[in-house]
Amino acid sequence: MSAITLASKRRRSALRTLAFMSPWLIGFAVFFAYPLISTVYFSFMHYDGFRPPTWSGSKNWTYVFEHYPFFWPALRNTLWLVLVMVTLRVVFGLGVGMLITKIKTGTGVFRTLFYLPYLAPPVAATMAFAFLLNPGTGPVNSILEKAGIPAPGWFNDPSWSKPALTLLALWGIGDLMVIFMAALLDVPQEQYEAAELDGASAWQRFRFVTLPNIAPIVMFAVVTGVIQTMQYYTQPLIAGKVASGVIQGAGTQFEPGYPDKSTLTLPQLVYNLGFQRFDYGSACVVALVLFALSMVFTAFLMRRRGGLNLAGD
C-alpha cells in the first residue's frame, strides 16, 4: 500500500513538474522542434507553396550544391563576414569600451555618441552609408580625393563592398561597447594593483588581468556575433540595391548581390529560393546549411573557449 502511495506521489510530482515546464515545452515544440523537423522534411520534397508537396529525394540538395549559381558565392561572402566582420567588431567594441572606461571627463557624452548609431534602423543606416560612400557624390570620397588618397568604389566595387559593410557594422558598435564596458568595470581593481606592484606593463596587465576576467564576455560577443552574421540580410540587400541604382519594386527582377554577387549572403538565398522562385525545398536546404554552420561555429568556439582563459588556472 505504501509502495503504491509512493508511486502515485512520484507520478503526481512528475506531472506537476511537467505542468510547470509546459510553457517552455510548448514554445520549444512550436518554435524550434516543429520548424526544424519541417525544414528537414521539406528539404527532401518538391514544394512550390501551392500544390501538395511531393517526394524528390536528394534533388534539392544536388541542385543547391551543384547547380544553383548563387550558393557558393553567398557561402564565401557569409564566411568572409563571419571571420572578418565579427573579429573586427569584437576588437573594436572592446577597444572603444576600454577607451571610454579610461576617460575621466565627458564619459556620458562619448558613451551616448558611440551608442546612438546602434539605435538607427538598419535600412536607414545602410541607405545613409550608401549615400556617404557613393563613389561619385559621397562626402567620404570627396575628402579622400582632396587628401590625394585613391578613393575606393565602396558598395559599387566587388572588392570593397564587404569592407564597406564592415565599416557600417563598426559604426553601430554600441551594443558590444556597452557589454564590454560593464565587463571591464567589473574587473577587480586589486588585481591591477597587484600586477602593477609586480612591475607588469600595460600589455601584460591587459593580457593577464583584463582578458581572463572578461573572457566569458568576449566568448558571448563572438558567439552572438557569429549567429547574427549568419542571419545578415537587411544591410547587404539594401546596400546592393541602393548602390546599383535600381530600386527593386514589384515586377522587377531580383538582382543578387550587387556588385558581382559580392553582397550576397545565405539568408538572401532563402528568400530568393522560397519566395521568388517558389522552390521551398531548396530554400530549406539553404536554411539547414545555415543551421549546420551556426552549430559548427558555436561548437568550435565553445570547445576553444579555454584558449581565452589566459590566466592559467
Binding site: L36, F220, T224, F278
Partner: protein, 453 residues
C-alpha cells in the same frame, strides 16, 4: 573568479547560442509549410454578393483610379459589391492565394508578370479560357499579341492583362539639334552613330552622355534590349533558345559595342554611380546628363514633372538594320489580373475581371487615371483616351503586332535573371567567349526549369 565565470556564463551562452542559431535560421521558413489551394465554386453571379479585390497600386492618383474603376463596375453590376484592398505586395498575395478563406482575395492583380507561369502551372489562379468562351470573348482579338502571350502559360490562360507598359526611346531634342541630328534613330547603326555624336567628354567623365548602355542603367536590361531583336526564348520542347537563336548573340554584341564605343565599362559605371536614381527628379535624362534613354511610357509624365530645360522627344526604339521594316515595335509587359482558385465566388469574380480587363470604357478610364498603356485593342484606339501627343508612340508600340515580350515560365523570371547575369559578366569583360557563355547559360536555364517542375 575567472574560473567561476567560465562555469556559469559560457554554459548559458552555449545553450542560448544553440537555441538562437537553430530557431533563427529556421524562423524564416516556419510560415512556409502550410496551406493548399482548393477548387473553384459554381456560384450564382446574379445574386447579391461581395468579392475581395487585392491590388498593388498605392500612389494617391492610382488609388483614386482604382476606386473609380470599381465604382463603374458596381454601377453596372449593382448586386456585386467589391471590397478593395490596395498596396498588397506579391508576398502577401502569394500567401493569400495559398491559404484562401473569407478574407482572402477572389480577384488579384499583380505587377509581377513573371509569376504568371507559376500561377498557371500551380493552379493558384483559375484558367480563364472557359470564362472567356462562356462570355463570347476571343482574347486573341481583344488583347494585343504580346499581352496575350505574357498572360498565359502552356495553354492555360490564368490571367488577363490589366493595362500595360510599353518601352520606347526618349531623347533630348535640344541636344539632338545641337549635334545636328534631325530625326530619332531608326536602326541600331544610326543609334550608335547618334549616341557617339551626343557624347560630350569632360575630363575623365562626361558632360553629356549620348546613352547609358550598361545593364544597370535603370531600364536598359537584357530583355528590354532583346525585345527589339524579336527573340524566341524557348523552343517547342521548352528548352532555352539562348545559344541557338542568333537574336540573343546579336543583342549582347550590340550592347557590348555601345559600352566599348561610349567609353568602356569602368568609365561608364563610374559615371553611373554619380547619377540620380531611377524614380527621383534627378534622373539623368531629366537633368540632361544622358541624352537618350530606353524607358517605359511612365517616364514621360515623370520627365515633364521634373520640368527639364530641353524639349523631350519620344520614338520607338531602334531595330536591327536587317529588320528596318519592323521599326515601331517594342517590348511590352504589364499588370495582370486573375481569379483565385480558392475563391467560392468565381462567377462573380469573373464579372469583375471581365469588366476591368475587357470593357473598353473601363479600360480607357483606368488608363487615363493611371497613365499606363490600355490593354485592349479597342481601348488603344478609343477617342476617349486622354494623353500628351507624345504618348501616342507607346499606344502604337502596344498595338504593333511585331512588339514582343518575355514569355511566362514555370519558375517566374529566373531565366531572365540568369540571362541578365550573363549580361553583367559580358559587359564587364569577365566573360569573353560569348558563344560558350551562351551555351552554359542556356544549360543553367534548363536546369533551373527542371528543378521547378
Amino acid at each position: 573568479m575567472p574560473e567561476k565565470s567560465w562555469k556559469v556564463i559560457p554554459d548559458v551562452s552555449r545553450k542560448a547560442a544553440v537555441a538562437l542559431a537553430a530557431s533563427a535560421s529556421l524562423a524564416l521558413l516556419a510560415t512556409a509549410c502550410t496551406g493548399q489551394s482548393g477548387s473553384g465554386a459554381s456560384d450564382d453571379a446574379s445574386k447579391d454578393t461581395t468579392i475581395n479585390f487585392w491590388h498593388a497600386w498605392s500612389a494617391p492618383n492610382e488609388v483614386k483610379a482604382v476606386k473609380s474603376l470599381v465604382a463603374g463596375f458596381e454601377k453596372a453590376h449593382p448586386n456585386i459589391h467589391v471590397n478593395v484592398v490596395g498596396n498588397m505586395t506579391d508576398d502577401k498575395i502569394n500567401q493569400a492565394l495559398r491559404t484562401g478563406g473569407d478574407k482572402a482575395p477572389d480577384v488579384i492583380s499583380s505587377f509581377t508578370t513573371n509569376n504568371v507561369g507559376k500561377f498557371c502551372s500551380s493552379g493558384a489562379l483559375v484558367d480563364l479560357n472557359p470564362f472567356f468562351e462562356k462570355s463570347g470573348i476571343d482574347p486573341e482579338t481583344t488583347f494585343p499579341k504580346a499581352m496575350n502571350e505574357y498572360t498565359r502559360f502552356d495553354g492555360d490562360r490564368c490571367t488577363a492583362p490589366l493595362l500595360g507598359d510599353a518601352y520606347g526611346l526618349y531623347y533630348n531634342k535640344t541636344a539632338f539639334a545641337k549635334a545636328g541630328i534631325k530625326t530619332p534613330p531608326k536602326t541600331w547603326s544610326e543609334f550608335e552613330a547618334d549616341a557617339k555624336k551626343l557624347t560630350i567628354a569632360q575630363g575623365d567623365s562626361y558632360k553629356q552622355l549620348g546613352f547609358m548602355p550598361d545593364y544597370h542603367g535603370w531600364e536598359t536590361t537584357t530583355e528590354h534590349y532583346f525585345g527589339q531583336f524579336s527573340p524566341t526564348y524557348f523552343n517547342k520542347a521548352g528548352k532555352s533558345n539562348l545559344a541557338t537563336d542568333p537574336a540573343f548573340e546579336a543583342g549582347f554584341r550590340l550592347q557590348k559595342k555601345l559600352v566599348d564605343e561610349l567609353g568602356g565599362f569602368k568609365k561608364l559605371e563610374t559615371f553611373r554611380s554619380k547619377l540620380g536614381d531611377e524614380w527621383g527628379p534627378k534622373h539623368p535624362f531629366h537633368t540632361g546628363q544622358v541624352a537618350m534613354q530606353l524607358d517605359g511610357e511612365w517616364r514621360l509624365g515623370m520627365a515633364l514633372d521634373a520640368k527639364p530645360n530641353f524639349d523631350i522627344g519620344v520614338a520607338p526604339l531602334p531595330v536591327p538594320d536587317d529588320q528596318a521594316a519592323q521599326y515601331g515595335k517594342g517590348y511590352i509587359t504589364g499588370t495582370i489580373a486573375g481569379i483565385a482558385a480558392t475563391s467560392h465566388k468565381q462567377n462573380a469574380a469573373w464579372e469583375f475581371v471581365k469588366y476591368i480587363t475587357t470593357d473598353t470604357d473601363a479600360v480607357v478610364g483606368f488608363s487615363n487615371g493611371i497613365h499606363n498603356v490600355p490593354s485592349t485593342l479597342a481601348a488603344l484606339k478609343s477617342p476617349k483616351l486622354k494623353y500628351d501627343p507624345r504618348f501616342k508612340t507607346f499606344l502604337d508600340i502596344a498595338a504593333n503586332p511585331n512588339s514582343t515580350t518575355s514569355p511566362a515560365s514555370i519558375n517566374g523570371g529566373v531565366y531572365l535573371t540568369t540571362i541578365q547575369q550573363l549580361g553583367y559578366d559580358y559587359e564587364s569583360g569577365k566573360v569573353t567567349d560569348l558563344k560558350a557563355a551562351l551555351k552554359k547559360t542556356a544549360a543553367q536555364i534548363d536546369t533551373d526549369i527542371a528543378q521547378a517542375k
